[in-house]
Symmetry: C2
Subunit: 327 residues, 2 copies
């Protein structure tokens, strides 16, 4: 249940279909991210910069920009950069927590510079996000992002406190996903949402973001079990080895043998076999279908948000994208 261990190729489709404005604006976000990570002299160390350079598909910035639509401008670019800085801060800290050596197939900050520098680098990225918004006196945006950050940290704490507990319910798992992942997707949509045209739209956009965030996490957890490692950039069963109980395992636990598994004694060499056993129960299809239902639900909220047809079309592509990773 790490965040963003795999990125959705359909993002490319969104870029292709959005003519020139979205790629150009994402380019501005990228330039701003670079400015935020440099300019600290030698003191910054290469860690935060390395994290930014490592890339990712900038899914949350894209949501901000798409929810704002073509009329968006400097303020939305700034919000998009800020949410990506927070996202990266959580990735750097996650890698410390999970003792992860690789992310997206590349060495993590924690692996190359040690956990001490990774904690500090994450703190720096986090602080820069708020500093960036504060410079522009973007009070609404700061409130949204701070509130999302509280949820992210609560989700992380919940995951730690649930570690190795195979008796947790699907409901508890979903609440954790809501905190740990969906809150930032929801925040992205609210950051982008055009306030000049208020109404029911804001709540519908929040629901849209939250649901695709949940679907994203469910798919991520499916991919941890299904792999393939050459696509996800990490070994199958990485979450299981960390003691993170995700929905595929919860669903598969109807099988008595799987239910009896003690994750604490799971060895790396046996993780793949456990993944196979979970897959054999059909749990992955169950979870995938659940994710698809969430995406359908998300699209319903989007329909009711009263945004431009072109915006809706592109956001629907993103929604499809989060559940179409690696077929």
């Amino acid at each position: 249940m790490s965040r963003d261990s795999a990125v959705p190729p359909p993002v490319t489709a969104v870029l292709d279909e959005s003519s020139r404005w979205l790629p150009a604006r994402l380019g501005e976000v990228e330039a701003l991210l670079r400015r935020c990570s440099s300019g600290h002299g030698e003191l910054l160390g290469a860690d935060a910069e390395m994290t930014l350079e490592a890339g990712g598909k900038r899914l949350r910035p894209m949501l901000v920009l798409l929810c704002a639509g073509e009329a968006g401008g400097e303020a939305e670019v700034r919000s998009a950069a800020a949410i990506e800085l927070v996202h990266m801060a959580t990735l750097v800290h996650d890698d410390v927590l999970d003792r992860a050596r690789l992310r997206r197939g590349k060495p993590t900050v924690a692996a190359t510079s040690g956990s001490a520098r990774a904690v500090a680098a994450g703190d720096l990225l986090f602080s820069r996000a708020f500093a960036l918004l504060a410079e522009a006196e973007a009070t609404r945006e700061i409130a949204l992002l701070a509130s999302a950050c509280v949820s992210l940290a609560r989700g992380e704490l919940a995951q730690r406190s649930d570690a190795y507990d195979t008796s947790i319910s699907a409901q508890r798992y979903l609440e954790r996903c809501r905190l740990k992942t969906a809150s930032l997707f929801e925040c992205a949509c609210l950051l982008g949402y055009d306030q000049r045209d208020p109404g029911a739209g804001e709540e519908e956009m929040a629901q849209f973001g939250s649901r695709i965030g949940l679907a994203f996490q469910l798919l991520d957890d499916v991919l941890d079990i299904s792999g393939p490692p050459e696509r996800t950039g990490k070994a199958r069963g990485t979450d299981l080895l960390d003691g993170t109980v995700t929905l595929p395992l919860i669903e598969a636990a109807a099988d008595a043998e799987i239910r009896a598994t003690d994750l604490r004694s799971l060895r790396a060499a046996d993780a793949e076999a456990l993944c196979e056993r979970i897959a054999a129960t059909g749990a992955l299809d169950t979870v995938r279908n659940r994710a698809l239902e969430m995406v359908a639900d998300a699209k319903g909220h989007l329909d009711r948000a009263g945004i431009e047809p072109e915006q809706r079309r592109l956001l629907n592509l993103v929604a499809d994208g989060v559940v179409q990773r690696y077929g």
Copy 2:
């Protein structure tokens, strides 16, 4: 060079001398801190709450309140709570970085709950600070605090990148202290500073805060060498064992034998002997005198800030306090 490993008893003097308003307002800060750490249900875990309960003398909140003066109110109480939440977040993360088992003589979050939960608990405290200010749309305060947080993280990164390097200069050490410690003291003074009466005062208050922050860190680093452990709550030479090169060691390195010390191979059993050798060079007096000069300098800035005589008197007591810990 950890932060706040010992707290100044003269704080008590300030409380005694400030009649009723300061203790009452600090009580409001305490109540607000408690509200911020609770109300997250079972998900919060006890970690963040434990950190708040562990106390400390609330030196930074006190600076906020004193700089605001008796006329301060709800806004200053909020700022005071926010800066303490950030300070606590840094303590929790520091303890992960330093693998510290004890703080103020009590087990750290990192020791009782593991580094994973400590990283998340720190992130939560950090996020709550910004959420608290954002709820009140306190834009100026958010900008000040975010900027200080960037400095804190840069200071932490600098400390990591300087680790075990006994060739660093006093200047480099002081720059690190400015980032890692003084920036939050400066922020406290600016948060409290009464803007209704603008002028040169703001810059003078910033300088006052920065200088007493520096002096505070210098004294902290003296106490790491001098102890006594029963007063500081940690073993002598803890920083040396972490590879943190502080001013006492830099000053003492005029002694060839000390200069030749390889901190990487320093064993815990030998740390006290090294502390004795450093003390024997007179370096502790040199550093203490430097801290006293900084306090004198700080008071000069305070004189020029144009604040109420009563406020000045109390802030001077705080300034004296940071260098009068344990005689």
